[in-house]
Symmetry: C2
Subunit: 366 residues, 2 copies
């Protein structure tokens, strides 16, 4: 047992003892992960397994409570909500492996009462990078040989589209990369968390950004400002001149100050997801809304699709990889989206207020 084996070594044991709660068996056999706990590859895989499970459980809890409320007075009275299909929305778990090495665990909850579509994915992949991919990394400033190189990548990625338009969509992704060339192994981390509201709530925005800033500040007081700006620049839809949402943090190529510190920083960021988001879900999941607000949410989801399919590097990189598991990559797309020709929010409306912030990102932390 993982627990008994590691209980005398509390520092290293942190991740492994969670194994029984994971969404599925890890891609790398558990005994190998336990054996290689000093290797960052194993540490990262254990981290993303834990983050995936904790986040899925937190979302399922919201879903369960929404159903419980309903069960008490009249058992399963669905008359008032034509959208609801499943009376017990849980994550569907797909564990998949790639013939060329590695695999992933994709968890999707669809058509829930609180969440219209929620995807939480981990992947652990190794193999050789084709020269074109190596070239792309070189152009980002990595000092790599221009040849086919062995690599390892592990990451967790989630996009949550709630049903209620007053609850924002959240996205996060944290990943670790290793590439081996003739000079040895190069490693780096990347990731970020960002929020896409349909209606702006300034308190939510402040809570969200403050929680991320606190996670950053524990490690480096320059991180939040730099990574907040990086996020605003990255999640930008050039042809519309607007941002996808109200940002958060985003970083890539992080290989300093040292591997352990960088991993600790990524751990703090990933652990900040639940406290930055779940309180916002709880606050608004029962908010009143009507046809008009739903239509606006669907239009904004169209913009989300535009960004993800046209500009998101992860999506493009993923889908252009041979034998990509496209269903896991595209779980980020909303269940429903809408495109209306020349839709313009009314003057001084809440919809226009959101657009102002999307066109001109604001600072949310004093």
């Amino acid at each position: 047992m993982a627990y008994s084996h590691f209980k005398n070594n509390k520092v290293e044991m942190k991740e492994v003892i969670q194994a029984k709660d994971y969404m599925a068996a890890p891609i790398t056999p558990l005994h190998e992960l336990e054996k290689n706990q000093n290797d960052m590859k194993a540490q990262m895989e254990l981290l993303i397994m834990r983050i995936q499970a904790e986040f899925c459980r937190a979302l399922e809890k919201e879903e369960d409570e929404a159903w419980d409320d309903d069960k008490t007075p009249h058992e399963y009275d669905f008359e008032n909500d034509a959208f609801i299909i499943s009376p017990d929305a849980k994550f569907k778990v797909d564990r998949w492996t790639r013939p060329t090495g590695g695999g992933g665990i994709t968890c999707v909850l669809q058509d829930g009462r609180v969440f219209e579509k929620a995807g939480v994915n981990i992947s652990v992949v190794s193999g050789t990078l084709p020269p074109a991919a190596v070239q792309q990394m070189r152009s980002r400033g990595k000092n790599l040989q221009n040849a086919e190189l062995p690599f390892f990548a592990a990451g967790v990625s989630a996009v949550i589209h709630p049903r209620n338009p007053m609850v924002p969509t959240i996205h996060f992704n944290y990943r670790y990369f290793e590439v081996k060339d003739k000079d040895g192994v190069q490693w780096w981390f990347g990731g970020g968390t960002d929020l896409t509201p349909y209606y702006l709530n300034e308190e939510d925005a402040q809570l969200f950004h403050t929680t991320l800033k606190n996670a950053c500040d524990k490690h480096d007081e320059t991180y939040y400002v730099r990574f907040k700006k990086w996020c605003d620049d990255y999640f930008h839809i050039p042809h519309r001149g607007e941002c996808r949402g109200i940002g958060g943090i985003f970083f890539d190529d992080l290989d300093s100050p040292d591997q352990k510190s960088a991993f600790d920083f990524v751990t703090s960021c990933a652990e900040a997801v639940i406290p930055s988001y779940i309180p916002i879900v709880q606050k608004h999941k029962d908010a009143a809304y009507g046809y008009y607000e739903r239509q606006w949410q669907l239009l904004r989801r169209g913009r989300y699709v535009e960004f993800n399919l046209m500009y998101d590097r992860g999506t493009k990189f993923g889908l252009h990889t041979p034998q990509a598991r496209y269903e896991s990559i595209l779980m980020s797309l909303p269940l429903n989206a809408k495109w209306e020709y020349m839709n313009e929010p009314k003057k001084d409306s809440p919809e226009e207020q959101l657009m102002t912030v999307l066109k001109q990102p604001r600072d949310w932390v004093k």
Copy 2:
């Protein structure tokens, strides 16, 4: 008057006398078009104006009749269809100009009874091509200087998304290009028409392809086979290993056998759109369907979005152009689309039958 001026010259007059029926005033002033009738730029602008107007009127006629049927028994009884908003769906016409030269006319009909979203766009644009765009054309085999070059482009483009899942979506685009370099003016035509059914009807597919083949055969008996294959290859979604629809014809860089013959071919293709499509609309627009068929249509519309945003050269080229009128480019996107994780058609269902043809294009003309 255009008509009196040209009535003694019946060959050249063909386009100009239609002017009163255009959707809006041409981008190039009418008197200039009349004066320059021997110039292909003017001929193409007149052609696309006429094609746009004829096609919009043909679609409006279907819409009008759908409303007429309904008015007779109970005036404006909308109880049975919650989607219907406008009792008199007509094209909204936007004539726009670019500060740097040219402009376009965008016609969109949204939320009709027969058509959920129909966009028919023309654009007439001139200016200088940035070196990157010239480079892209060189790589396609054009023998052009690698510098900033003056260009002219005129085209008509339409995407029609009907409401009834038994009626396919159609797309067509016909365009003319001129680029001037030190050796003089190079010109070429491109275009195509293709069909995207939600449920396969073999008779429709045969009618559609036969109409296109007849238009091709009048000009060159090798065209249909070559351009049908080009269409299947182009409208392909690599990450899903499926075609967008059941094809049609597609060609580019057509500069043979001579300018007049190429223009006549393009004219035949553009004139084939109505007879290839409107009979299919009429046949199925009142077909019975239910919730399940609508959901399938929405899922397939998600695939349409994937192709257009990720792979369509016209969309990408358009949106990456500075000051692009993105609303005109993105009118091709459906009003509603859906993405479900791991949706799989049932075995031997009509949905699976469609997928078989999308994964393995068929010949539709004996």
